[in-house]
Symmetry: C2
Amino acid sequence: MKIQVKGVGLTKFGELWDKSLLDLSLEASVEAIKDALIDEKNIDAVFVGNMLIGKIAGQDHLGPVVASALGLNCAAFKVEGACASGGLAVHLAIQGLLAGTYKNVLVVGAEKMSDAPTSQITWALMGASSSLERKAGLTFPALYAMLSQAHMQKYGTTRQQLAYVSVKNHFHAALNPKAQYPFEITLEQVLNSSRIASPISLLDCSPITDGAAAVVLAADTNSKGVYITASAVASDTIDLAQRESLTELKATQAAGKLALKQAGVEITDIKLAEVHDCFTIAEVLAMEDLGFCPKGGGGKFISSKATKLGGKCPVNTSGGLKACGHPVGATGVKQIIEVTQQLRNSAGKRQVKEANIGLTQNVGGTGATVVVHVLQN
Amino acid sequence: MKIQVKGVGLTKFGELWDKSLLDLSLEASVEAIKDALIDEKNIDAVFVGNMLIGKIAGQDHLGPVVASALGLNCAAFKVEGACASGGLAVHLAIQGLLAGTYKNVLVVGAEKMSDAPTSQITWALMGASSSLERKAGLTFPALYAMLSQAHMQKYGTTRQQLAYVSVKNHFHAALNPKAQYPFEITLEQVLNSSRIASPISLLDCSPITDGAAAVVLAADTNSKGVYITASAVASDTIDLAQRESLTELKATQAAGKLALKQAGVEITDIKLAEVHDCFTIAEVLAMEDLGFCPKGGGGKFISSKATKLGGKCPVNTSGGLKACGHPVGATGVKQIIEVTQQLRNSAGKRQVKEANIGLTQNVGGTGATVVVHVLQN
């Protein structure tokens, strides 16, 4: 498969008190359409990735909300798959293009989280998880803390190795003007930050973020540019208790394997990746389950600086969910944008040298949904 | 395009106090997979159409919830577009098949509404509409009442003509064992039922319903069977105040026109249809906007019994949303099932004679989303 990324648009990520979900969606969309050098009337389908706005502000039916605000009355969809909503929206938009039904599609991932009280956001986010987990009083930091504990026990992954994921991603975010936290932090700061759910501390966690990301995709395969060459989705139980193992995300393994096959590349061909570091353990699992390093070796691999800018395969050059921010529905689309900018050689101070093949991994819940894309130029 | 409807599964519609959303989804899915005569392991993608469960019970991320309960770890998606969620799920599933990415997909539309208090359901449903309409205190009966008033004023449509839509659809529902209200009602009963929002009375309104509908679709075009030959989506502003006209749904006109073109048929070729009669005026608008009768002539057309079983084009033989019931996310999928059963000549007492081409029209909100499918055998 070969789908062109014709245009990208990205808002600042952060606590954006003066902007609504629609403001953010339009800002990113208008930028993406302009970047695509097409007339917006040529957009024939709009895909919106969003998880929370229905629950926290009552507004569903986002497809036509966004489309009509752009002056379009084309096909319009909202896709939800928890924190993978953006990645799934990209995947489904691609299907419409491959089918030949649509020629130019706009995919917008957007989330407005800071307006809601933390208790409401916590409740809303737990919709990604199982009713049993909700009844048990579990929250996402607690669920990922269990994954962390299991990994530490089985493979000897250390607290310092986990903390280093945050240090690395803040280092990258400091080079990204769109990042929510564009500054560096130290290992000591992570280790000494407030404990949330052992071993996870505050600075192991991705934040509450407002933001939107948009891409214009087209089936056009003639012109030069950045292409999505694989789009794979896999699922798993939403309930951790039903899994055979807590030290791997099988959906990442399945989607990763399928994506590499679709693109016809090996994991060693990947020059950079954006992965779903909602908590530090998630990036460790991603490295292993995608095959960047052997199972159990993720902590050591990341600490070796192989995935830091300048290393053999920089990961989360945007700053990742941790430091660029995690507006839930936007994240999967933002990952596509970061890799596109790298492949266009337009990533500024965080440019990866000789970037020609990149990968994105977007996770919903604790791995019940995983979407993997491969991009090439 | 040509997509086979390989299997269908439908629960009873009604107030199903002893069944959860997942129970209903699985019941319909297992029946559809069995009807398709395939092993469930051959399902490679699951599309769930649902609007409300996240808001009323906290549970999002329904794709993997349904897939994993079926023992599948394939690609899984939730699609939301208000009351058109089911139709949109079918449309997007078709794109995955046409793209060649998936071979056999399961589409499940499901809703569990009766567990929630009416006030919560009213709030949740208004997510389909605009924030301005919500702030103004409008509810869906009020919005459709405005559409009714405008139509009565402009075209002289009568209260009796509107009421007759309910009478006809209850007549059909009396022949459908899956219907929520499988009994006939009289014109007087509709006219004398409690006034909700003038001119809409209680028996002009579709009910609160629990239920699920599932179909297995495949790209297989070799075997005999029922095929979806058109799938078209259009959108409009979600806010009625932004529309040029209150006496037509432009998205129905656009999606209908596109669907007929895709299928290569004329409206006069359609032998039966399932349309979105959430309120009686909606069926009048559907008849006109799809082209079954001239603009303004819908009330007269329906009252002529042309769309009653035995007429030239029976409409809503299932009983429609009014009498079969309206479990929001299930409705668009149930429409596909009713037409499939008619084309299979397996609709029992409500069988339309020589049914060979059927159409479905599924509406989100007050017409911000419209999905039209054409089916042929």
